[in-house]
Subunit: 369 residues, 2 copies
Amino acid sequence: MERSGQESMPLHGIRGLQSKVRELQESPGGLGFGRYFTDHMLLMDYEEGTGWGEPRIVPYGPLLLDPASKVFHYGQTVFEGMKAFKWKDGRARLFRPLDHVRRLNRSCARMCVPAVDEARVLGALRRLVTADADWIPEAPGTSLYIRPFVVATETQLGVAPSRSYAFVAICSPVGAYYAEGVRPVPIYVETEHVRAVAGGVGDAKTAGNYAAGLKAQEAAARMGCAQVLWLDGVEREYVEEVGSMNAFFRFGDEIVTPPLGGSILAGVTRDSVIRLLRGWGVSVSERPVSIGEVAAGLRDGKLREAFGTGTAAVVSPIGSLHWRGERLTVGDGEPGELSKRLYETLSGIQRGELPDAYGWMEVVPSAAE
Amino acid sequence: MERSGQESMPLHGIRGLQSKVRELQESPGGLGFGRYFTDHMLLMDYEEGTGWGEPRIVPYGPLLLDPASKVFHYGQTVFEGMKAFKWKDGRARLFRPLDHVRRLNRSCARMCVPAVDEARVLGALRRLVTADADWIPEAPGTSLYIRPFVVATETQLGVAPSRSYAFVAICSPVGAYYAEGVRPVPIYVETEHVRAVAGGVGDAKTAGNYAAGLKAQEAAARMGCAQVLWLDGVEREYVEEVGSMNAFFRFGDEIVTPPLGGSILAGVTRDSVIRLLRGWGVSVSERPVSIGEVAAGLRDGKLREAFGTGTAAVVSPIGSLHWRGERLTVGDGEPGELSKRLYETLSGIQRGELPDAYGWMEVVPSAAE
């Protein structure tokens, strides 16, 4: 961190060096996730009384914030994550952008942040992607990740909703979440720490939910696991999420995913997966699923597939679960049939290689339009 | 929020206008809480590999942060709040500063933030108070509130502990929390929302815990209540905290306060109050106390006093509890005998008007020393 006017700010990422990005996208995992940022960002300010101002697209650069700004002290913040893809026709498409902006507003409501105008924000995000369209990588599995977020900027230390906010959106060209496509990962079943509880803010996309999971994630990494499987905070029995993804299990021919009960995020990819599965005639139950049921299913072979879903990884197969000192392999440890089909279908729709039967892709106007 | 180098930054508070602060401290509630900030602040940077750098005292001013900084997205942050007082001898004293820095490090451990060197931070905080000693208000009930905080500054969007941090400390001359001293406030018993749960981060002083309480606080305000009384997230039965304070109840001659079970903050004022009470021969039990026991005690008169404790308000009597549509008055609605004695004793020790039997006050060197 630097102070304004006193020291120079080292700019992060590789700005303007789009050729570098084109080079990186060819090497597996070379782009990584959220490491490089584009030339522009979106800013929009809120003041009590006047409301949200006009969105402005400005050069990417540091934010100047008073150290008393409430975001630093009381964490009043919400965010989203969505993706843009460049199709073979050279035009950019956003994946379900309105659903992301609507979810942003649901998070706003839970965190006492004033709602944004959905149409206005959507228009501004489109213009941002248009401005930085040259940054959208084109290799399979890559995309432009867009991160809109709102932070409380009032400079007062009382614990109360802020009277001013900043909406910011930045963009990052990102690689395939897993370098070799859909690779099953080992998952640690967390029995000590809790991510969220019904009545809390687990269903809002707000910064504190992610900070709350860091300690368990460190423990999982020490056990050689990629992510944490969270259990509910009351009975410590029912599956909530896996890392920051929604969790799915295939018992025989039934797909089960935890219901949206207030403590888990309503994933846009979760919804897409449920609709694809039902469209294929696969039975999907949104019902509580206990870790006991999962473990029993893994032992007797009834649980044939398990995977997480989210914007970043799309579909991420679970290779094994580490629970109470036991390592339980999912199926034969390879990606399951439905996991693969879901990943390939969603990726195909996003890249314009399969028909967009649900109308999920939205064309972004080109700079000339 | 403004962007670096593009627009001017409107400075908040009234910088350098110490005479204004001297005027405000005379009017009841005039200083408020955390509205004005002093001339200087403390900065210290952390980088993976080299660790925490040297603390620097610099003019108060905006922070320049990359919009990809993790604090904005994943809320990895911890903070503290402590007070300095100016005694009649003209010298400044800090209240239990080492206990606050130790708690900061406990919060750091929970939130995967690297620990600070306690002696070095304490020394730097003393120098900060010395530099801004002229800002310490002197009217009864006023003090200089010191807010150290740490934010994650790594500019990468992966959910993982940051590899760089900024430690910042700012100071605010604050007024009496309640203009007329110790005034009992109405409290709303929250039965829908939950602040924290065992296994979560409720025992860490981290931003997300405060954002999580805003919605319930708004509901409480609509009911004419000043604060929320939080119940546990599992059974929705046991008292946790009141607003951002620890809760105390007097049943007959026994004082009861919830135990430090992982979901509530280990208040420095909580500890001070327990030690004062025990020193007076009053029995204090740290044990679970259910809202049912509290309500029964209010109905049959066995519950004679209830109050919250915290650095900001010191001791804040609870006048009534609003629970399931019922309004239950505490005692005769006036501050209880022990509440008043605790407030006056703690305030007296802090202002140097009573003996500091526990060694809680620490002299801050004057600028000449």
